[in-house]
């Protein structure tokens, strides 16, 4: 007898997403689609100035407008809510002013909500907003971070001692000596513009407080339902059990939808006050004015190399400008903290000094967005590495091959203190060289240059933080779960359900969980229904952020599946009068572990355990539900690594950059679904390229956002984006059974750095070098000295 192929290996297969079928049929269930009985609509009157004192608010006329239910001010709403403060204990001496729902005495950014109007329709609420009179005495806004730190500077918010939110220094003992004896030092001054998530579905919330039972149900487009359950319970004085948060389909999130916003808190407060459902959906201008912005770093950096071209040290000073307060509950210091720790990550570099200053200003809050800190650290490091290559007359790819931590040198601890279990930089670089035909491209580049065509090749190795434990937030006192939970059950008909705390925003979370659970139980993923995004039906857990869905959520599902598998096998052994070790699950059945013969279908197990438990031997546990929680242990993070390359052509007359092609070699450990992994990488790359070339929230000197629409804020379009070639190296983490690490942020981490190096490589004959994002045509022409 020949062995049949293993039909139960689902991990590693390109399973298609069941939930995609709903979207393709127009049956998405977005929060923006939700209509509840007696639901009313919210709109906000926002501060027109970046900094000022509120003198008077007159809502009289607005209250009389057609359809208006009520007009609410700080005096109505703020007493319902305990203020929130965006600091964490492990960021020593961090300061941030307390926040409450509506501005009471001062406004601190242009767009801050001052008055909330509730009406029968959003249009009527907006009409009434026009009738509210808010009198504000303008004050000079704090817009520039460096100026904000000057002695005696005005503070962005009242009650602050200074505009410094947080500062820290990280250094090795010998960093100064390393620079003193360097054969070559390159330096740079970088500026990374503000950009924002632009999720296609804006932020949306429907809060539904039922005064008869005291139950609050919040339907919200978010990545983190449990975090919001905790926030709403604590800040509105409810028991946790009285708060249910439901995140149905979410139209993009990318980190933006896991922060606390004034409008969501206002919507909950208004529902508590009115005892009926209140809906708030941001329009696109409101999104630009109130969604978190990302980045906004000014970095001075230098890199030392020895006579052999080996990188010995880096020194970095990062000034990050975060808006008028630190975001809650994750803070606005986490990104800078990561920037200074990720510097030089792929390299053997031994010495380092990183300084971080986190500074307040009168703009929208910045906070965590896809690939937190990574694009900054990667771009600074890799632009300097290219600078070294140029200074030494060496090939940039060869220089990197010589400098990365060798694949056989793990475990390794970086100069900044990060611990790496096992990475594969050398393998990835070798793979990239072959995939992109590096030597051929270089030869072509040289030929084309002679004809006045300026192409550039940019290389950017990277590391990425995934599978974080409690070190990120929990140790700092934030009530953000580092663990996840899953409940797996076998139905009476032999189908499987998995309720799990990780969430889906289209990346395929539910699909990979179905694959993992299905593999443990020998059930095809199509018959595993995965339920996410509801605090009443799933176990508590951290959900989806920082690339933890696959690595931590997946491991949770695996362990839950194995627990249920053991329960099923115990029942089967009792029924069959057999030993558990002689049985196995496959093809939706219990089979003989040795011969593969089918002994009993899972449907039969379900039937007996559910309808005829009386026929089981006395003492048999008939449970067909298993619950399991899992928190990462071992290394503090499961670092991934990879390398990206960008090939561009720069028109030196117009400054336009054409992206010709992009390559990524990525090592995310064990690949659960190659189709979904590749699409996470592609989507991430394009977000990275957007920030590098197009996206920027522009402010004038009065602190006014000047491009708050999708006509003026440039999002990458299909016609501008290159095809992206992806290769893989697989180094599973040994910290888990599953071996998976995260992948969602890898694309964003290094795409911008690769593009910046490619543009600068194209401009090499002109001795022009850009260190500012986005690399707009105007900035390229300026670097070329044309304007």
């Amino acid at each position: 007898m020949t062995m049949a192929p293993d039909t139960t290996a689902f991990i590693g297969q390109p399973h298609r997403r069941q939930n995609a079928l709903r979207h393709l049929a127009g049956r998405g269930r977005f929060t923006t689609d939700l209509v509840l009985p007696r639901m009313v609509h919210a709109a906000f009157v926002r501060s027109p100035v970046a900094r000022g004192q509120i003198l008077a608010v007159d809502v009289e006329q607005a209250s009389q407008a057609p359809g208006v239910i009520c007009v609410l001010t700080a005096a109505d709403l703020n007493p319902l809510c305990m203020p929130w403060v965006g600091t964490l204990d492990h960021f020593a001496r961090m300061a941030s002013p307390p926040q409450n729902i509506l501005a009471e005495t001062h406004v601190v950014w242009a767009g801050q909500p001052v008055v909330m109007v509730i009406a029968s329709s959003r249009a009527q609420a907006e009409d009434a907003c026009e009738l509210v009179v808010v009198e504000i005495e303008d004050q000079e806004p704090v817009v520039d971070g460096a100026a904000a730190l000057a002695l005696g500077a005005d503070t962005a918010s009242p009650g602050l001692a200074s505009n410094l939110c947080y500062e820290t220094v990280l250094e090795t003992a010998d960093v100064d000596a390393a620079f003193a004896k360097a054969a070559c030092v390159v330096d740079g001054e970088f500026s990374f513009g503000r950009h924002t998530a632009v999720t296609l579905e804006p932020r949306a919330v429907v809060a539904d407080f039922d005064p008869s039972t005291g139950q609050l149900t919040v339907h919200q487009g978010t990545q983190t339902p449990y975090q919001f359950q905790d926030v709403y319970a604590r800040h509105f004085g409810l028991n946790e059990g009285q708060v249910r948060v439901i995140a149905a389909d979410v139209g993009g999130s990318f980190g933006m939808k896991l922060h606390v916003y004034h409008e969501e808190m206002a919507t909950v407060a208004a529902s508590k006050l009115l005892g009926r459902p209140v809906r708030f959906v941001a329009d696109r201008l409101e999104s630009f004015l109130s969604d978190i912005h990302a980045r906004d770093h000014k970095v001075r950096a230098r890199m030392a190399v020895d006579a052999n071209g080996i990188i010995t040290a880096m020194e970095v000073d990062d000034l990050t400008q975060i808006g008028a307060f630190s975001a809650y509950p994750r803070t606005s210091a986490a990104e800078g903290n990561q920037v200074i720790r990720l510097m030089g990550g792929p390299y053997r570099m031994q010495d380092y000094r990183g300084r971080l200053s986190v500074v307040f200003q009168n703009k929208v809050q910045t906070s965590q967005y896809r690939a937190v800190g990574h694009p900054i650290a990667c771009a600074v490091t890799e632009v300097l590495v290219d600078g070294v290559a140029e200074a030494l007359g060496q090939d940039p790819l060869d220089l990197r091959v010589r400098n990365v931590v060798p694949d056989d040198a793990y475990p390794h601890t970086s100069a900044t203190g990060y611990q790496f279990e096992k990475l594969s930089h050398q393998a990835c670089l070798a793979r990239l060289r072959q995939m992109m035909g590096y030597e051929t491209l270089r030869a072509e580049q040289a030929l084309l240059r002679k004809t006045g065509i300026y192409r550039g090749i940019g290389i950017a190795p990277f590391i990425e933080i995934t599978n974080p434990g409690a070190a990120f937030y929990g140790v700092g006192g934030a009530r953000i779960s580092a663990q996840d939970g899953a409940i797996v059950k076998l139905t009476p008909s032999g189908d499987v359900q998995c309720m799990i705390s990780v969430t889906e925003q289209g990346q395929g979370t539910e699909t990979i969980i179905a694959q993992i659970v299905g593999e443990q139980l020998g059930v095809s993923p199509e018959r595993v229904k995965v339920i996410t995004g509801d605090t009443d039906t799933t176990p508590v857990g951290g959900a989806t952020w920082a690339c933890r869905g696959a690595g931590i959520g997946g491991e949770t599902a695996l362990r839950a599946g194995r627990k249920l598998r053991d329960q099923i096998l115990a029942i089967a052994a009792a029924v069959l009068q057999s030993e558990v070790v002689d049985l196995r699950l496959a093809d939706a059945s219990v089979i003989d572990a040795h011969t593969g013969a089918v002994r009993l279908s899972l449907a039969e197990i379900g039937r007996i355990a559910t309808y005829r438990p009386d026929t089981l031997p006395s003492g048999t546990d008939n449970s067909l539900t298993a619950a399991q929680h899992y928190a990462p242990s071992g290394f503090p993070f499961a670092f991934t690594n990879g390398v990206q390359a960008s090939h561009v052509e720069v028109d030196v007359e117009t400054g336009l950059v054409k992206l010709l092609k992009h390559w990524v070699v990525e090592d995310c450990g064990r690949i659960i679904n190659p189709l979904l992994v590749d699409e996470q990488i592609r989507g991430g790359v394009v977000q990275g390229l957007g920030a590098a070339l197009f996206e920027e929230c522009l402010y004038d000197e009065e602190g006014q956002l000047t491009n708050g629409s999708l006509a003026e804020y440039l999002v990458p379009m299909a016609c501008e984006m290159p095809d992206i070639v992806i290769g893989h190296v697989e180094t599973p983490t040994l910290d888990t059974i599953l071996g998976a690490k995260g992948v969602g942020e890898a694309g964003t981490a290094a795409a911008g750095a690769a593009a910046m190096n490619a543009v600068n490589d194209a401009l090499l004959p002109f001795k022009a070098r850009l260190m500012q994002t986005p690399m707009t045509p105007a900035r390229i022409l300026a670097a070329l000295g044309h304007v």
Binding site: A20, G28, S709, D723, I724
Partner: protein
């Protein structure tokens, strides 16, 4: 007493005749979503930039956010729900599923509308023509390549089908 400015419109929506009184300022998108429950039509920018609200108006893609409901009086409107029910984009939907040409799904209705119209106008588009055609459709999740692939493979399959049947 407020003046009644509403106007009665009669519109063929997904093959069904709908008669309603609407305010002159009501957009087609809000009418479809809020009054008819056709929530496949999404709103991403409300200024005709992102393409999430594209519907077929008399067989051509139109921004439902820039069109007023009163403007479509007497016209034919088809949303993704209608295209799906008629079966005319079944192969496109299957190709999007197979290639994972969507993530969060919010742009998908508009993408399918654009793709449907493109393949009617130009049954054999090359990749750059597909990318150009998608320039009015923003997608934040996929990076576009999978969408381009799905449309290209649908075009290729339709060509083969026509070749064998013709």
């Amino acid at each position: 007493m407020e003046q009644d400015l509403t106007k009665e419109i009669t519109v063929t929506v997904n093959g069904e005749t709908v008669r309603q009184r609407v305010e002159p300022r009501l957009s087609l998108a809000d009418w479809l979503r809020d009054r008819l429950g056709l929530t496949a039509t999404h709103l991403g920018c409300e200024m005709g930039a992102c393409g999430a609200c594209l519907v077929m108006l008399n067989g051509r893609p139109a921004h439902a956010c820039l069109t007023l409901a009163v403007q479509v009086d007497g016209e034919m409107v088809e949303t993704l729900e209608g295209l799906r029910d008629r079966g005319v984009i079944a192969d496109l939907q299957a190709a999007f599923h197979e290639r994972n040409a969507l993530q969060c799904g919010f742009c998908t209705s508009g993408m399918l509308a654009t793709a449907h119209a493109l393949l009617v106008d130009n049954p054999h588009p090359d990749r750059s023509e597909i990318r150009d055609a998608l320039s009015g459709n923003y997608c934040r999740c996929t990076g576009y390549e999978a969408i381009v692939d799905a449309i290209a493979s649908t075009a290729a399959a339709r060509t083969i089908d026509q070749g064998t049947s013709g």
